[in-house]
């Protein structure tokens, strides 16, 4: 049981480039989330999904897109990367809604220069 896996662990992007952060969970969880963590700012919710085919915006969705074609996968797409998107990105999943335990992946550290 791998839990929540994320790839890549590190990435450097140039301004204007695009990339997809991958997230997979093997716990058959319905709910999946993407957060970004900036120094001293805690975790901010970018997008979340309550099941395959259903996604919704979180607190800071601008500049990002998501899709949820399967229960297991929840990729996060960055289009036209900007320095403000430099952050550590965490994917998480939970069996039920947000009041229940969330299981986090190890994170992706992204730098945009």
């Amino acid at each position: 049981n791998a839990g929540v896996t994320q790839t890549p662990k590190f990435r450097i992007l140039k301004i204007g480039q695009s990339m997809t952060l991958q997230c997979t969970q093997d716990m058959n969880h319905n709910y999946m989330y993407w957060y970004r963590q900036d120094p001293g700012m805690g975790l901010k919710l970018i997008y979340y999904s309550v099941g395959a085919g259903i996604t919704d915006k979180g607190e800071v969705p601008n500049g990002y897109n998501v899709s949820r074609s399967t229960t297991e996968d929840f990729p996060l797409r960055l289009e036209l990367a900007a320095p403000s998107q430099t952050s550590v990105y965490f994917c998480a999943s939970s069996y039920m809604g947000q009041g229940y335990e969330q299981y986090f992946g190890p994170g992706t550290r992204l730098t945009v220069t």
Partner: protein, 110 residues
Amino acid sequence: TQLLEQSPQFLSIQEGENLTVYCNSSSVFSSLQWYRQEPGEGPVLLVTVVTGGEVKKLKRLTFQFGDARKDSSLHITAAQPGDTGLYLCAGIKGNEKLTFGTGTRLTIIP
């Protein structure tokens, strides 16, 4: 506006000492969670409190939810180097999204 304020932001103490960190808000939460995050890893849930005044113990860690469900505290007895990490509280109100606090970065010096 940060709904959940954690204090202190940084704390460095000697092994064996006791400590308390706080999570405060002006809002009422239906439940509150505490996570610990180690460097290079994602947060891991320690406890969830749901009832005003509730106290939960996890070995040397004691968690309390305020009577009015607006605040919470985490008390560690006889701190050990393995307690080092970033402690995050996270609250949820009704059907709204889980909101994370800014965290307390704890360092235990051997």
